[in-house]
Amino acid sequence: MTGPDSAREKTVRGDSSESQTALSVTVNGKEVRTLVADRLLLSDFLREHLGLTALKVACGEGACGACTIVIDGEPARSCTLLAVQTEGAEILTLEGLNAPEGLNHVQQIFQQQHALQCGYCTPGWLMTVYSMIQRSIHPDSPEVGQYLSGHLCRCTGYRNIWAAVRQALGAAKDEYPSRK
């Protein structure tokens, strides 16, 4: 885990009147112990403090899904949570799913199906797809639509994403690279 950038640390933590709380979380398998401002959003903690910039912040109100990560095995928004709320939690971001080289299995499917264009929303989709694979959701289950309704894409359109997700769900569970 990269340490917090000292310049950023100053802007976030420099003001002594800002109330702070100790935080201990596991992020992509590594334990992080730090002190954070109480009002710091989890999305900003992961991006600004830990340098995990795969997740994107767009709407900031939980509607668009670009900041989706996995917390304790379930997909969740990181922009509608405070970092301090995740005390003791296990957090997985897209960085934790990266293949050692090149694209992982699901990323390859997204590429083949042209399921992304600008790519801003893609990290969020990939985290939801990871959760769906972990839960062995059948590609024909109505749950697929429920999960995918949690993400917005403004350029590719949903048909290709839908096809990529179905293909990913049809694949064997152990084909999705796990961080372990």
């Binding site: 959003l41 922009c79 309704s149």
Partner: protein
Amino acid sequence: MKPARFGYVRAETADHAVEVLGGADAAARILAGGQSLIPALSARTINASLLLDIMRCPGLDEVSQTPGEITIGAACRQSRIEKSSVVLQAIPLLPEALGWVAMPQVRSRGTVVGCLAQANAGGEVPVVSLALDAELNVLSRGGVRQRIPAREVYAVEAGTRLPSRSLIESASFRTLAAGEGWGFCEVQLRPGHFALVCCAATLELEESGRIRSARIALGGLTASPYRADRAEKSLAGENAGDVSRVRDAAQIASAERPWPARTDLHATGAFRAKAAVTAVVRALTEARERCSRQTGATHDRA
């Protein structure tokens, strides 16, 4: 968007939360899943001086069943309750309605009791609480515990009527009676959006197929949800398969709203009133079909 400054305390127990809340200023707030509160703080549409996180309080994450009711603690997340076998078996109406609350990525963090406390005009859970005669277990300062019927909590034009600076520790929902059918219908703009209107209904039938009792709760049409008492009474003794009677009851339910129909960017009050009629008809029809399956009584399909 970034929230303005506030303090944050992880409450050790429910009593601790209420004590701190009682000693804080009026802008202190309880924090559960935060799926509505945090975005509101980020947008600065509301302000908080202090957030009291209750998610680690012992006991609040419990689901318990006693004869006739299921009690869900304030720290129980929606995604867990959706899949709880106890809940699915005793009050399947609740998991069905939870499937309409936002998206799975939000339900993984949001709580059932948080929905009751927040009382959003387009919220589903308060409507279910009315249909299932729920009672909220409310803790006030000094260890005072009260059971307050959801009907009283929502008997205000908007928001909730609860003791000031109190905490809803849990909510107790009446379990469905043997043979009691249930239905839920929601009209929304897109999946995950708040309800324009939604209806939760339950029906108990006599052997003859006549209605012994009906419960109809409507949300979204007005800022607070309500039980359609007159519509329920109009159905007593009627044949559950009588489509025109059901439709009449739905008209009554929409018209007997105690407050003005809600108009916002998404729909006019007139549209909501009309959609409410459809929602009630569909919820009652589903409820009747589930009664039929359970009791074996036969009637014509609508």
